[in-house]
Subunit: 225 residues, 2 copies
């Protein structure tokens, strides 16, 4: 079995499928392997999500721009990850963020209609996507129901729990300070004392326009303890 | 076509499927129609979600108890609605709320494994569940990204947007006032002035231990404008 098949079998949504099945699919369906240079855009926020896209080599930087505030969230995904599979179907079928190659990077893509054919070819593919989407759908209900005090720290934790993809690294919030106050629903003095508390606990680091998550799990404990 | 088939065809997850297909499925798969008396429990929070369950007559009262606060959310669903289909798969496969018959009520249920067979029998079933789960998964990202100021009103709106099921009626939050302050991350005086503002706008009504949503769409505008 060559490395392409091994790569495919490690991808979320492909896990647990036999190599025979993968081989048959690769022969039958038009999988495309695309190469991107450092800094090249893979897709922009608002582009239609017409293909299921996987990172098969290198890494991708994602940027989510907030609608009403001068705040954006940056995060990095590496292989093996799928990109925004929850936007293939449902109410919103355009990408919520921009994806740019962070160094040379390889993307495997398959048209949505071919992916649907794939789902019909093996129950494992079907279970994988049902589990992926269901977990995404459950995620927020559980963090709201677990609220203990909805402090500024809790709000930051919930925001990150919602917008940061499981397994993402190098998570940075870029902001104008006034807008970060609006985002977290607080005044400047409370903002600073809350952030300083998180710095003391080695959960974040920040300066005048960037906040970096150092320990995502410890931040999540604010809402999941 | 008798009324049972008509009822089935109106159910979410069944919509758009031909009556011939429905007839064939009802003959092949063990659909169970269950009757519940007023006040009878259909399932409890924490029960395993082993069946896909639809309301085919009457209505059901759902109660979500918060984990760490003396707060619970009550809402009513009527026919045609599916109950918690996002908990059939994914990380969490137990019900997040208790469901009780509100007056006499009829539930149609199908085992999870038979539902998976159904998904394989027609692409329309597959698209229905993929759309349902994807929309659920997208829901919260969009409300976080749309934050304008994260006021107490915004927080109440986000909470309701996350936990209230589309189409639910008679939505009530039952609370101890101190715990409602924690839930919304505020002090008593700000809580009262925020709630009074929502009362003036005819969005909610409240007393010392209950808050009733009068206009869900207008409340949602706090986060979706």
């Amino acid at each position: 079995m060559n490395s392409m098949y091994q790569q495919l079998m490690q991808l979320p949504l492909f896990q647990g499928v036999s190599s025979d099945r993968i081989t048959a699919l690769v022969e039958k369906l038009p999988f495309h392997f695309l190469k991107f240079r450092n800094g090249e855009q893979i897709f922009a926020a608002g582009d239609q999500c017409t293909h299921v896209r996987f990172i098969v080599s290198g890494q991708v930087r994602l940027e989510t721009q907030f609608d009403n505030l001068r705040v954006s969230l940056l995060q990095t995904l590496t292989t093996p990850h799928v990109l925004a599979a929850e936007y293939l179907f449902g109410r919103e079928t355009s990408y919520p963020y921009t994806a740019v190659a962070d160094g040379p990077c390889g993307i495997l893509q398959l048209r949505k209609s071919d992916y649907v054919t794939m789902l019909g070819s093996d129950k494992v593919f079907l279970f994988n996507i049902l589990n992926y989407l269901s977990s995404g759908s459950q995620r927020n209900c559980s963090s709201f129901v677990a609220i203990k005090e909805n402090s500024v720290m809790d709000r930051l934790a919930m925001l990150m729990d919602t917008l940061v993809i499981t397994g993402a690294t190098d998570v940075v919030l870029r902001f104008k300070q006034k807008d970060l106050c609006y985002l977290l629903g607080t005044q400047r003095t409370t903002l600073i004392s809350s952030l300083d508390k998180l710095v003391d606990e080695e959960i974040i680091d920040y300066d005048s326009n960037e906040l970096r998550i150092l320990d995502h799990l410890k931040l999540a404990e604010y809402i999941n303890k």
